[in-house]
Amino acid sequence: MLDDVAIKVRQNVGIVTVVLLFSILYVLYNLAHPKGFSSAVLVQNGNEIFALAMVAMAQTVPVLASGLDLSVGAVMTMVGCFASYLLTGAVGGTPLHLDIFGLHLALGTFPGGINGILLGIVLCLAIGTTAGFINGCIVVYGRIQPIIATLATGAVYIGIALFLRPTPGGKIDEDLNWALTNSLGDFAATVHIFDDGAAGWFAPVAWVPVPFVLLALIALLVWVPFRRSVLGRAVYAVGSAEGAAYMSGLPIDRAKIAAFTLAGFFAGCGGLFLAIQTSSGNADIPQAGAYTLNSIASVVIGGTSLLGGTGSAIGSIFGAMVLRVISFFFRIFDIAPLLQPLFEGLILLAAVSIGALGVLRVKNTLELFR
């Protein structure tokens, strides 16, 4: 029994380390924060963490298949720009039109009210998923290296985002913004369930921030079933030995397409939330690039090998949280804002270098060249 636990820990040493690291950092943060361990602080942190955590999950799936998706930030930005048109929640709907090369095309009216918002959310997620599916098809059927294929599609998606929002703007329904970026109690009060959140049994969980609930739901309802499916296992198999996976009769083409499609979906969730949180759409190219790069860092900190085949999206969520908590510390300890980028870089370098110290134990140099 104890042996089983020891084996499990050894198999998942990456994720165990990052969860421990996050717990320690987060408890220290809350101890140092004047209003630590309160719902308000949790809500604020949840809102700041969510988009990066989703993009980190998005990056994990292609990385597991030993690919890399440099378009996750771009997909996130594009979906956010779409959301700023589709989730306005205007009563009576929004007229949609397309102005292109001087032509004015009316595309009918987008429904308003709660139906319109639900339809808008579904559409936004569908757009993200489609973007990921296109990536997957280019990688599999175009046989172009993932890193360069997604670099190119990322430019296209950013172009579409810029086309939609040349300047930041748009609007998100206020109730939607309020419901999703606060605690469960506020959510219930806004959508009028559980006696507006005043039901007695509901009180013990009313303080939980909605972003964390969403994060857990997406991880449990999307990632876990996927990982346990044949396709999910095939993604891991492709990552550790593509040739062997092919010879074993696994659907490697479908696995790769599924990996990129899922990445698009997760990135879409991130973009949707970012738009809801900021109540606007912004085609910010540096921000998209920063999210893509931070997603790679989160994946590595979360214990997933960039060579593919080992790791998990759950680890990446914690990797993203560790990255974010480190930046929270800057606020607490009044570190000069000018020094923050330096510390972020040094911590990232230290983290990957400590993780790499295992090479010193390798006796046969040949083992280094995988």
């Binding site: 175009g142 046989r143 294929a149 172009g159 985002a161 590595v300 000018l338 980028p341 330096l342 270098s353």
Partner: protein, 319 residues
């Protein structure tokens, strides 16, 4: 099959097709300007030389990037290596400006190389971290403001002046190109680079000190980025925040469009040269057409995908 019947090797096809595509860009751009303005500025030597002068900075960055890609790694620290070299060169000033700038680049390359070769951290993540550190150092150094320093006269002469109508930056680019070609084609180091890119374990067993070669490649890439930074500071008479941001992805794109395998081991320098010219001309034609940034990004991405669909496809995995 068709390529074999035309007497073309696998490495020549990308070069030929990109060269043809450059002609297509020039023809399309000229047709547009003739129809709209009744002139053909794209075909005038002055205009082309001016575009190539701007392209020289990208060309030098791409030369270094190609060396690193050939050994199957990547250097994402280029943007802030370039900016750091420019900022330090302008703030030191005097006769030591250029050596200090280049020294910064070599030092960053050395750190990258040690991390990748000896600590075996994937280059994707290590150079990313080094880029963040360089950015942090420069932000702390300049206080977050645009530096108030100016380029030295020598830097300006090297980057912006002309001799016999030819910009000096082009001479520097040509010199870098000759050095790179000579190294790749004529020295043992060049052979080692291709060998490592194909199979590092095999190169190691054949007696190559693969880790030292990896360090050397990163040092070369850092030096090239620094040289581009020093020249760019000379061209724009000063260094500024984020001056390197526009050079990372175009450099990788140029190398890949030129037929170098992103996984390493295959590619020739002529291709990279043509890839740079292609990207520079594509940019200038799009700006002549007053294409908004949105359209540029879309076209940029589509061009990369199309070019690679034509000649950059990988092998199907069958065993």
């Amino acid at each position: 099959m068709t390529s074999a019947s035309l007497g073309l090797s696998r490495d020549d096809r990308p070069i030929l097709i990109s060269a043809l595509f450059i002609l297509v860009i020039l023809a399309a751009g000229t047709a547009y300007t003739v129809a709209r303005f009744g002139s053909a500025p794209l075909l005038s030597p002055t205009y082309l030389l001016q575009q190539l002068q701007i392209g020289a900075f990208l060309g030098i960055v791409a030369a270094g990037m190609m060396i690193v890609i050939l050994i199957g790694q990547i250097d994402l620290s280029v943007p802030w290596t370039l900016a750091a070299a420019a900022m330090m060169a302008t703030s030191i000033g005097g006769p030591f400006a250029i050596p200090v700038g280049l020294g910064i680049g070599l030092l960053v390359g050395l750190v990258n190389g040690v991390g990748v070769a000896y600590l075996r951290v994937p280059s994707m993540i290590f150079t990313l971290g080094v880029n963040a550190v360089m950015r942090g150092l420069m932000v702390a150094h300049t206080g977050g403001y645009a530096p108030q320093t100016a380029a030295t006269d020598l830097m300006r002469t090297l980057a912006a002046d002309r001799t016999l109508g030819i910009p000096h930056a082009l001479f520097v680019w040509a010199a870098v190109s000759v050095l790179v070609v000579a190294m790749l084609q004529r020295t043992a180091l060049g052979r080692y680079i291709y060998a490592i890119g194909n199979k590092e374990a095999a190169a190691y067993l054949a007696g190559v000190d693969t880790r030292r070669v990896t360090v050397i490649c990163f040092v070369i890439c850092g030096g090239a980025a620094a040289l581009a930074g020093v020249l760019l500071a000379g061209y724009s008479t000063k260094a500024y925040q984020g001056m390197g941001d526009a050079y990372l992805l175009p450099a990788i794109a140029a190398v890949v469009i030129g037929g170098t395998n992103i996984l390493g081991g295959r590619g020739c320098y002529l291709g990279t040269l043509i890839g740079v010219v292609l990207i520079v001309l594509l940019n200038s034609v799009l700006s002549i057409m007053e294409m908004p940034e949105a359209g540029r990004q879309v076209i940029y991405g589509l061009v990369i995908i199309l070019m690679l669909l034509v000649y950059g496809r990988g092998e199907r995995v069958v065993s």
